[in-house]
Protein backbone atom coordinates (compact mmCIF):
# COMPACT_ATOMS: atom_id res chain seq x y z
CA UNK A 1 0.00 0.00 0.00
CA UNK A 2 1.64 3.25 -1.11
CA UNK A 3 1.45 6.33 1.06
CA UNK A 4 1.51 8.34 -2.15
CA UNK A 5 -1.60 6.52 -3.25
CA UNK A 6 -3.24 7.54 0.02
CA UNK A 7 -2.24 11.09 -0.81
CA UNK A 8 -3.76 10.76 -4.29
CA UNK A 9 -7.04 9.53 -2.79
CA UNK A 10 -7.06 12.46 -0.35
CA UNK A 11 -6.48 14.78 -3.28
CA UNK A 12 -9.42 13.27 -5.10
CA UNK A 13 -11.71 13.92 -2.12
CA UNK A 14 -10.48 17.49 -1.69
CA UNK A 15 -11.11 18.14 -5.38
CA UNK A 16 -14.56 16.57 -5.17
CA UNK A 17 -15.39 18.68 -2.12
CA UNK A 18 -14.33 21.92 -3.80
CA UNK A 19 -16.50 21.01 -6.79
CA UNK A 20 -19.65 20.48 -4.74
CA UNK A 21 -19.01 23.53 -2.57
CA UNK A 22 -21.52 25.94 -4.21
CA UNK A 23 -24.24 23.30 -3.86
CA UNK A 24 -23.52 22.94 -0.14
CA UNK A 25 -24.06 26.63 0.70
CA UNK A 26 -27.34 27.60 2.36
CA UNK A 27 -29.84 28.92 -0.20
CA UNK A 28 -29.67 32.43 1.26
CA UNK A 29 -25.93 32.72 0.62
CA UNK A 30 -23.89 32.28 -2.53
CA UNK A 31 -20.11 32.52 -2.15
CA UNK A 32 -20.64 34.24 1.18
CA UNK A 33 -22.91 36.95 -0.24
CA UNK A 34 -26.51 37.25 0.92
CA UNK A 35 -28.79 36.61 -2.07
CA UNK A 36 -32.49 36.12 -2.63
CA UNK A 37 -33.89 32.62 -3.07
CA UNK A 38 -34.19 32.56 -6.91
CA UNK A 39 -30.92 34.45 -7.48
CA UNK A 40 -28.86 31.34 -8.20
CA UNK A 41 -30.81 30.77 -11.41
CA UNK A 42 -30.26 34.30 -12.74
CA UNK A 43 -27.45 35.14 -15.17
CA UNK A 44 -25.22 36.92 -12.56
CA UNK A 45 -25.63 33.90 -10.27
CA UNK A 46 -24.69 31.48 -13.04
CA UNK A 47 -21.75 33.68 -14.06
CA UNK A 48 -20.42 33.65 -10.49
CA UNK A 49 -20.60 29.87 -10.41
CA UNK A 50 -18.84 29.62 -13.78
CA UNK A 51 -16.10 31.88 -12.44
CA UNK A 52 -15.65 29.63 -9.44
CA UNK A 53 -15.67 26.37 -11.42
CA UNK A 54 -13.20 27.70 -13.98
CA UNK A 55 -10.70 28.44 -11.18
CA UNK A 56 -11.35 25.18 -9.38
CA UNK A 57 -11.00 23.04 -12.49
CA UNK A 58 -7.81 24.91 -13.45
CA UNK A 59 -6.31 23.97 -10.08
CA UNK A 60 -7.35 20.32 -10.42
CA UNK A 61 -6.11 20.00 -14.03
CA UNK A 62 -2.82 21.72 -13.16
CA UNK A 63 -2.26 19.21 -10.35
CA UNK A 64 -2.98 16.28 -12.64
CA UNK A 65 -0.81 17.82 -15.38
CA UNK A 66 2.15 18.38 -13.01
CA UNK A 67 1.85 14.83 -11.66
CA UNK A 68 1.76 13.41 -15.20
CA UNK A 69 4.64 15.59 -16.37
CA UNK A 70 7.08 14.94 -13.55
CA UNK A 71 6.20 11.28 -13.07
CA UNK A 72 7.65 9.47 -10.11
CA UNK A 73 11.08 11.05 -10.34
CA UNK A 74 10.09 14.21 -8.47
CA UNK A 75 7.40 12.96 -6.16
CA UNK A 76 7.77 16.02 -3.91
CA UNK A 77 6.26 18.08 -6.76
CA UNK A 78 3.12 15.99 -6.40
CA UNK A 79 2.77 17.12 -2.83
CA UNK A 80 3.44 20.71 -3.82
CA UNK A 81 0.89 20.52 -6.64
CA UNK A 82 -1.59 18.94 -4.25
CA UNK A 83 -2.31 22.29 -2.64
CA UNK A 84 -3.35 23.82 -5.97
CA UNK A 85 -7.03 22.68 -6.02
CA UNK A 86 -7.91 24.27 -2.64
CA UNK A 87 -5.81 27.36 -3.42
CA UNK A 88 -7.43 27.86 -6.83
CA UNK A 89 -10.86 27.13 -5.32
CA UNK A 90 -10.21 29.82 -2.68
CA UNK A 91 -9.19 32.33 -5.37
CA UNK A 92 -12.28 31.42 -7.42
CA UNK A 93 -14.48 31.76 -4.32
CA UNK A 94 -13.12 35.24 -3.61
CA UNK A 95 -13.52 36.37 -7.19
CA UNK A 96 -17.07 35.01 -7.37
CA UNK A 97 -17.81 36.67 -4.04
CA UNK A 98 -16.54 40.04 -5.29
CA UNK A 99 -18.54 39.59 -8.49
CA UNK A 100 -21.73 39.07 -6.47
CA UNK A 101 -21.29 41.99 -4.05
CA UNK A 102 -23.28 44.47 -6.23
CA UNK A 103 -26.20 42.00 -6.30
CA UNK A 104 -26.27 41.42 -2.53
CA UNK A 105 -29.75 41.31 -0.99
CA UNK A 106 -30.54 43.65 1.93
CA UNK A 107 -29.45 42.32 5.31
CA UNK A 108 -32.06 40.34 7.21
CA UNK A 109 -30.06 40.35 10.44
CA UNK A 110 -32.76 40.67 13.14
CA UNK A 111 -32.79 43.97 15.04
CA UNK A 112 -34.79 42.38 17.85
CA UNK A 113 -32.63 40.06 19.92
CA UNK A 114 -33.75 37.78 22.72
CA UNK A 115 -31.92 35.93 25.47
CA UNK A 116 -33.04 33.61 28.23
CA UNK A 117 -31.51 34.53 31.58
CA UNK A 118 -32.72 31.40 33.33
CA UNK A 119 -30.92 28.97 31.05
CA UNK A 120 -28.90 26.20 32.57
CA UNK A 121 -25.15 26.74 32.59
CA UNK A 122 -23.62 26.29 29.18
CA UNK A 123 -22.58 22.65 29.57
CA UNK A 124 -21.32 20.46 26.78
CA UNK A 125 -23.83 17.90 25.45
CA UNK A 126 -23.45 14.36 26.75
CA UNK A 127 -22.41 13.07 23.36
CA UNK A 128 -19.14 14.99 23.84
CA UNK A 129 -18.00 11.91 25.77
CA UNK A 130 -17.88 10.16 22.39
CA UNK A 131 -14.77 12.25 21.78
CA UNK A 132 -12.77 9.99 24.13
CA UNK A 133 -12.91 6.55 22.39
CA UNK A 134 -10.80 7.75 19.41
CA UNK A 135 -7.92 8.26 21.86
CA UNK A 136 -8.06 4.56 22.68
CA UNK A 137 -7.06 3.48 19.16
CA UNK A 138 -3.53 5.00 19.23
CA UNK A 139 -3.15 3.54 22.74
CA UNK A 140 -4.25 0.14 21.43
CA UNK A 141 -1.84 0.49 18.49
CA UNK A 142 1.04 1.32 20.83
CA UNK A 143 0.15 -1.67 23.04
CA UNK A 144 0.09 -3.91 19.98
CA UNK A 145 3.55 -2.69 18.94
CA UNK A 146 4.82 -3.30 22.48
CA UNK A 147 3.40 -6.82 22.52
CA UNK A 148 4.94 -7.65 19.11
CA UNK A 149 8.20 -5.77 19.58
CA UNK A 150 10.44 -8.77 18.93
CA UNK A 151 8.62 -9.62 15.71
CA UNK A 152 9.24 -6.18 14.22
CA UNK A 153 12.28 -6.12 11.87
CA UNK A 154 15.39 -4.25 13.01
CA UNK A 155 14.96 -1.84 10.09
CA UNK A 156 11.55 -0.40 9.37
CA UNK A 157 10.39 1.61 6.35
CA UNK A 158 9.50 5.27 6.91
CA UNK A 159 8.93 6.42 3.34
CA UNK A 160 7.36 4.83 0.29
CA UNK A 161 7.55 5.51 -3.43
CA UNK A 162 4.59 5.75 -5.79
CA UNK A 163 5.06 2.05 -6.59
CA UNK A 164 4.31 1.23 -2.97
CA UNK A 165 7.86 0.08 -2.29
CA UNK A 166 9.76 1.56 0.66
CA UNK A 167 12.55 3.94 -0.26
CA UNK A 168 13.39 5.26 3.19
CA UNK A 169 14.43 3.19 6.20
CA UNK A 170 15.22 3.68 9.84
CA UNK A 171 16.18 1.51 12.77
CA UNK A 172 13.63 0.04 15.13
CA UNK A 173 13.61 2.44 18.06
CA UNK A 174 10.80 3.28 20.52
CA UNK A 175 10.74 6.84 19.17
CA UNK A 176 10.23 5.74 15.58
CA UNK A 177 7.52 3.26 16.45
CA UNK A 178 5.66 5.02 19.28
CA UNK A 179 6.28 8.54 17.93
CA UNK A 180 3.56 8.15 15.32
CA UNK A 181 1.02 7.30 18.01
CA UNK A 182 2.13 10.33 20.03
CA UNK A 183 1.70 12.45 16.91
CA UNK A 184 -1.82 11.24 16.20
CA UNK A 185 -2.80 11.58 19.88
CA UNK A 186 -1.57 15.17 19.78
CA UNK A 187 -3.58 15.87 16.63
CA UNK A 188 -6.69 14.30 18.17
CA UNK A 189 -6.21 16.40 21.31
CA UNK A 190 -5.97 19.55 19.19
CA UNK A 191 -9.14 18.69 17.30
CA UNK A 192 -11.02 17.84 20.49
CA UNK A 193 -9.84 21.02 22.23
CA UNK A 194 -10.88 23.08 19.20
CA UNK A 195 -14.33 21.42 19.24
CA UNK A 196 -14.89 22.30 22.91
CA UNK A 197 -13.57 25.84 22.56
CA UNK A 198 -15.69 26.27 19.44
CA UNK A 199 -18.81 25.10 21.27
CA UNK A 200 -18.34 27.50 24.18
CA UNK A 201 -17.31 30.34 21.91
CA UNK A 202 -20.40 30.19 19.69
CA UNK A 203 -23.94 31.44 20.22
CA UNK A 204 -26.49 28.86 21.38
CA UNK A 205 -28.09 27.28 18.33
CA UNK A 206 -28.78 23.83 16.87
CA UNK A 207 -25.94 24.49 14.40
CA UNK A 208 -23.51 24.67 17.32
CA UNK A 209 -24.38 21.12 18.39
CA UNK A 210 -24.08 19.94 14.79
CA UNK A 211 -20.61 21.47 14.56
CA UNK A 212 -19.51 19.70 17.75
CA UNK A 213 -20.99 16.39 16.55
CA UNK A 214 -19.19 16.71 13.21
CA UNK A 215 -15.85 17.55 14.80
CA UNK A 216 -16.15 14.55 17.11
CA UNK A 217 -17.20 12.35 14.16
CA UNK A 218 -14.06 13.37 12.26
CA UNK A 219 -11.92 12.11 15.14
CA UNK A 220 -13.00 8.51 14.44
CA UNK A 221 -11.70 8.01 10.87
CA UNK A 222 -8.71 10.17 11.77
CA UNK A 223 -7.87 7.89 14.68
CA UNK A 224 -8.58 4.71 12.74
CA UNK A 225 -6.60 5.61 9.64
CA UNK A 226 -3.60 7.23 11.32
CA UNK A 227 -3.59 4.70 14.14
CA UNK A 228 -3.72 2.00 11.46
CA UNK A 229 -0.74 3.53 9.67
CA UNK A 230 1.21 3.37 12.96
CA UNK A 231 0.59 -0.37 13.18
CA UNK A 232 1.09 -0.88 9.44
CA UNK A 233 4.62 0.53 9.61
CA UNK A 234 5.52 -2.26 12.03
CA UNK A 235 3.45 -4.97 10.42
CA UNK A 236 2.02 -4.69 6.91
CA UNK A 237 -1.62 -5.56 6.55
CA UNK A 238 -4.24 -4.65 4.00
CA UNK A 239 -4.77 -0.92 4.66
CA UNK A 240 -7.62 -0.84 2.16
CA UNK A 241 -9.78 -2.36 4.88
CA UNK A 242 -9.18 0.75 6.99
CA UNK A 243 -9.29 3.21 4.09
CA UNK A 244 -12.58 1.76 2.87
CA UNK A 245 -14.36 3.72 5.61
CA UNK A 246 -13.24 7.03 4.12
CA UNK A 247 -15.56 7.31 1.06
CA UNK A 248 -18.80 6.52 2.96
CA UNK A 249 -17.68 8.77 5.80
CA UNK A 250 -16.94 11.76 3.55
CA UNK A 251 -20.18 11.15 1.60
CA UNK A 252 -22.10 10.99 4.89
CA UNK A 253 -20.59 14.25 6.10
CA UNK A 254 -21.35 16.01 2.82
CA UNK A 255 -24.94 14.73 2.92
CA UNK A 256 -25.32 15.81 6.57
CA UNK A 257 -24.09 19.30 5.71
CA UNK A 258 -26.33 19.43 2.69
CA UNK A 259 -29.40 18.59 4.79
CA UNK A 260 -28.47 21.20 7.38
CA UNK A 261 -27.77 23.85 4.74
CA UNK A 262 -31.22 23.22 3.26
CA UNK A 263 -32.90 23.71 6.67
CA UNK A 264 -36.07 25.71 5.89
CA UNK A 265 -35.89 27.38 9.32
CA UNK A 266 -32.23 28.25 9.77
CA UNK A 267 -31.01 30.08 12.86
CA UNK A 268 -31.09 33.85 12.47
CA UNK A 269 -27.81 35.15 11.13
CA UNK A 270 -26.80 38.08 13.32
CA UNK A 271 -23.55 38.81 11.50
CA UNK A 272 -23.44 42.06 9.51
CA UNK A 273 -22.59 41.68 5.83
CA UNK A 274 -19.86 44.31 5.94
CA UNK A 275 -17.89 42.21 8.47
CA UNK A 276 -17.38 39.37 5.99
CA UNK A 277 -14.47 39.71 3.62
CA UNK A 278 -12.18 37.65 1.40
CA UNK A 279 -14.86 35.04 0.95
CA UNK A 280 -15.48 33.61 4.39
CA UNK A 281 -13.32 35.62 6.79
CA UNK A 282 -15.28 37.22 9.63
CA UNK A 283 -13.92 40.26 11.46
CA UNK A 284 -16.28 42.03 13.85
CA UNK A 285 -14.77 43.62 16.98
CA UNK A 286 -18.29 44.42 18.27
CA UNK A 287 -19.42 40.78 18.18
CA UNK A 288 -18.38 38.91 21.35
CA UNK A 289 -18.87 35.54 19.65
CA UNK A 290 -15.57 33.74 19.19
CA UNK A 291 -16.97 31.48 16.47
CA UNK A 292 -19.79 32.09 13.98
CA UNK A 293 -21.32 29.74 11.38
CA UNK A 294 -19.60 30.02 8.03
CA UNK A 295 -21.65 31.32 5.13
CA UNK A 296 -19.94 28.67 3.08
CA UNK A 297 -22.51 26.19 4.33
CA UNK A 298 -20.56 24.03 6.74
CA UNK A 299 -18.52 24.55 9.86
CA UNK A 300 -17.76 27.58 11.95
CA UNK A 301 -15.12 30.23 11.52
CA UNK A 302 -13.16 32.34 13.98
CA UNK A 303 -14.17 35.94 14.57
CA UNK A 304 -10.83 37.62 13.93
CA UNK A 305 -12.18 40.87 15.36
CA UNK A 306 -12.27 39.23 18.79
CA UNK A 307 -8.84 39.36 20.51
CA UNK A 308 -9.47 35.90 21.99
CA UNK A 309 -10.21 34.65 18.46
CA UNK A 310 -6.73 35.62 17.36
CA UNK A 311 -5.23 33.79 20.34
CA UNK A 312 -7.29 30.67 19.65
CA UNK A 313 -6.22 30.71 16.00
CA UNK A 314 -2.56 31.25 16.96
CA UNK A 315 -2.77 28.46 19.55
CA UNK A 316 -4.31 26.01 17.10
CA UNK A 317 -1.78 26.78 14.35
CA UNK A 318 1.09 26.59 16.86
CA UNK A 319 -0.21 23.22 18.02
CA UNK A 320 -0.29 21.88 14.47
CA UNK A 321 3.16 23.35 13.80
CA UNK A 322 4.50 21.74 16.94
CA UNK A 323 3.12 18.33 16.01
CA UNK A 324 4.51 18.54 12.46
CA UNK A 325 7.89 19.62 13.87
CA UNK A 326 7.73 16.59 16.18
CA UNK A 327 7.04 14.36 13.17
CA UNK A 328 10.09 15.68 11.32
CA UNK A 329 12.27 15.45 14.44
CA UNK A 330 11.10 11.88 14.96
CA UNK A 331 11.97 10.89 11.38
CA UNK A 332 15.32 12.73 11.20
Amino acid sequence: MSLNLIFAISLFFISALTLVLPALSPARFLFGVRVSQPFRRTEPGRRARRLYYSHDLTGILLTIGIAAAVGTTHIWLWYLAGILPPVFAAIGYNRASRHLRPFAAPSDAPAVREADLSLEPDRLPRFTLLGFPPFLLPVAGALWVRAHWNEIPAHIPIHYGIDGQPNGWTTRTPLHLYGWFIFITGMLLLLFAMSVVGYHGARRSPARRTMLAMMISIMYPMSLIFGGVGVWVAHHFNMWIVLAILPPFVAGMVWWNHVRARDPQPSADATPDECWSTGDVYNNPDDPALFVPKRLGYGYTINFGNPAGKWVCAGFLSGIGLMIAFLFWMRR
Partner: protein, 131 residues
Protein backbone atom coordinates in the same frame (compact mmCIF):
# COMPACT_ATOMS: atom_id res chain seq x y z
CA UNK B 1 -42.53 25.20 36.11
CA UNK B 2 -40.80 28.57 36.59
CA UNK B 3 -41.70 31.42 34.25
CA UNK B 4 -39.15 31.93 31.46
CA UNK B 5 -36.80 34.80 32.20
CA UNK B 6 -36.48 36.14 28.70
CA UNK B 7 -35.34 39.61 27.80
CA UNK B 8 -35.71 41.28 24.46
CA UNK B 9 -33.91 44.28 23.02
CA UNK B 10 -34.39 46.17 19.77
CA UNK B 11 -31.17 47.41 18.21
CA UNK B 12 -33.17 49.88 16.07
CA UNK B 13 -34.76 51.50 19.11
CA UNK B 14 -33.62 55.01 20.04
CA UNK B 15 -33.22 53.74 23.62
CA UNK B 16 -29.61 52.60 24.16
CA UNK B 17 -29.17 48.83 24.26
CA UNK B 18 -27.70 48.84 27.77
CA UNK B 19 -30.73 50.79 29.03
CA UNK B 20 -33.09 48.28 27.37
CA UNK B 21 -31.25 45.45 29.13
CA UNK B 22 -31.47 47.27 32.48
CA UNK B 23 -35.20 47.89 32.04
CA UNK B 24 -35.94 44.32 30.91
CA UNK B 25 -33.92 42.68 33.69
CA UNK B 26 -35.39 45.02 36.30
CA UNK B 27 -38.92 43.96 35.30
CA UNK B 28 -37.94 40.31 35.86
CA UNK B 29 -36.39 41.21 39.21
CA UNK B 30 -39.36 43.23 40.43
CA UNK B 31 -41.95 40.65 39.41
CA UNK B 32 -39.86 37.92 41.07
CA UNK B 33 -39.08 35.86 37.98
CA UNK B 34 -35.43 36.21 38.92
CA UNK B 35 -35.33 35.21 42.59
CA UNK B 36 -32.58 36.17 45.05
CA UNK B 37 -29.56 33.90 44.76
CA UNK B 38 -30.08 33.21 41.05
CA UNK B 39 -26.92 33.56 38.97
CA UNK B 40 -27.33 35.57 35.80
CA UNK B 41 -25.40 34.63 32.65
CA UNK B 42 -21.88 36.01 32.52
CA UNK B 43 -21.34 39.30 30.71
CA UNK B 44 -19.57 37.42 27.90
CA UNK B 45 -22.35 34.85 27.50
CA UNK B 46 -25.23 37.36 27.54
CA UNK B 47 -23.38 39.70 25.16
CA UNK B 48 -22.81 36.76 22.83
CA UNK B 49 -26.47 35.67 22.91
CA UNK B 50 -27.71 39.20 22.25
CA UNK B 51 -24.99 39.95 19.69
CA UNK B 52 -23.93 43.18 21.43
CA UNK B 53 -20.60 44.36 22.76
CA UNK B 54 -19.33 43.17 26.16
CA UNK B 55 -19.36 46.75 27.45
CA UNK B 56 -23.08 47.07 26.74
CA UNK B 57 -23.97 44.18 29.03
CA UNK B 58 -21.24 45.15 31.52
CA UNK B 59 -22.72 48.63 31.80
CA UNK B 60 -26.24 47.22 32.28
CA UNK B 61 -25.04 44.91 35.07
CA UNK B 62 -23.18 47.81 36.73
CA UNK B 63 -26.33 49.96 36.73
CA UNK B 64 -28.36 47.11 38.26
CA UNK B 65 -25.63 46.55 40.86
CA UNK B 66 -25.73 50.24 41.76
CA UNK B 67 -29.48 49.95 42.24
CA UNK B 68 -28.80 47.11 44.67
CA UNK B 69 -30.23 44.31 42.54
CA UNK B 70 -27.04 42.46 41.68
CA UNK B 71 -23.89 41.39 43.41
CA UNK B 72 -21.03 41.53 40.91
CA UNK B 73 -17.99 39.45 41.60
CA UNK B 74 -15.13 38.99 39.22
CA UNK B 75 -15.12 35.39 38.01
CA UNK B 76 -18.45 34.54 39.67
CA UNK B 77 -20.70 36.58 37.43
CA UNK B 78 -23.79 38.39 38.68
CA UNK B 79 -25.92 37.07 41.56
CA UNK B 80 -29.41 38.42 42.28
CA UNK B 81 -29.56 40.02 45.72
CA UNK B 82 -32.40 39.85 48.20
CA UNK B 83 -33.94 43.30 48.31
CA UNK B 84 -36.42 42.59 51.09
CA UNK B 85 -35.59 45.97 52.55
CA UNK B 86 -36.31 48.13 49.55
CA UNK B 87 -34.85 51.60 49.90
CA UNK B 88 -37.52 54.30 49.84
CA UNK B 89 -37.07 56.65 46.92
CA UNK B 90 -36.27 60.25 47.91
CA UNK B 91 -38.85 62.95 46.97
CA UNK B 92 -36.76 64.26 44.06
CA UNK B 93 -36.66 60.73 42.49
CA UNK B 94 -40.43 60.50 42.93
CA UNK B 95 -40.82 63.79 41.10
CA UNK B 96 -38.55 62.50 38.32
CA UNK B 97 -40.71 59.38 37.90
CA UNK B 98 -43.83 61.52 37.92
CA UNK B 99 -42.44 63.67 35.13
CA UNK B 100 -41.50 60.62 33.07
CA UNK B 101 -44.94 59.08 33.58
CA UNK B 102 -46.64 62.34 32.68
CA UNK B 103 -44.68 62.49 29.43
CA UNK B 104 -45.50 58.89 28.60
CA UNK B 105 -49.21 59.30 29.40
CA UNK B 106 -49.34 62.49 27.30
CA UNK B 107 -47.80 60.53 24.41
CA UNK B 108 -50.39 57.74 24.84
CA UNK B 109 -53.23 60.25 24.92
CA UNK B 110 -51.80 61.98 21.83
CA UNK B 111 -51.91 58.64 20.03
CA UNK B 112 -55.59 58.24 20.83
CA UNK B 113 -55.58 55.90 23.81
CA UNK B 114 -58.48 56.75 26.16
CA UNK B 115 -57.63 57.91 29.69
CA UNK B 116 -59.63 55.04 31.22
CA UNK B 117 -57.61 52.52 29.25
CA UNK B 118 -54.34 54.11 30.36
CA UNK B 119 -55.48 53.98 33.99
CA UNK B 120 -56.46 50.32 33.61
CA UNK B 121 -53.11 49.46 32.00
CA UNK B 122 -51.23 51.19 34.81
CA UNK B 123 -53.27 49.31 37.41
CA UNK B 124 -52.67 45.96 35.69
CA UNK B 125 -48.96 46.55 35.31
CA UNK B 126 -48.64 47.62 38.95
CA UNK B 127 -50.39 44.46 40.09
CA UNK B 128 -48.34 42.27 37.78
CA UNK B 129 -45.18 43.67 39.27
CA UNK B 130 -46.51 42.86 42.79
CA UNK B 131 -45.87 46.36 44.08
Amino acid sequence: MPAPARIRIDLNSPVPAYRQIVDAVRVLLVEGTLAPGVALPSVRRLAMELGVHFNTVGEAYRVLAEEGWLDLHHGRGAIVLDRAQRPSAPPERLQEFRDRLRGLIAQMRAEGIPAARIAAELKNLTEALKL
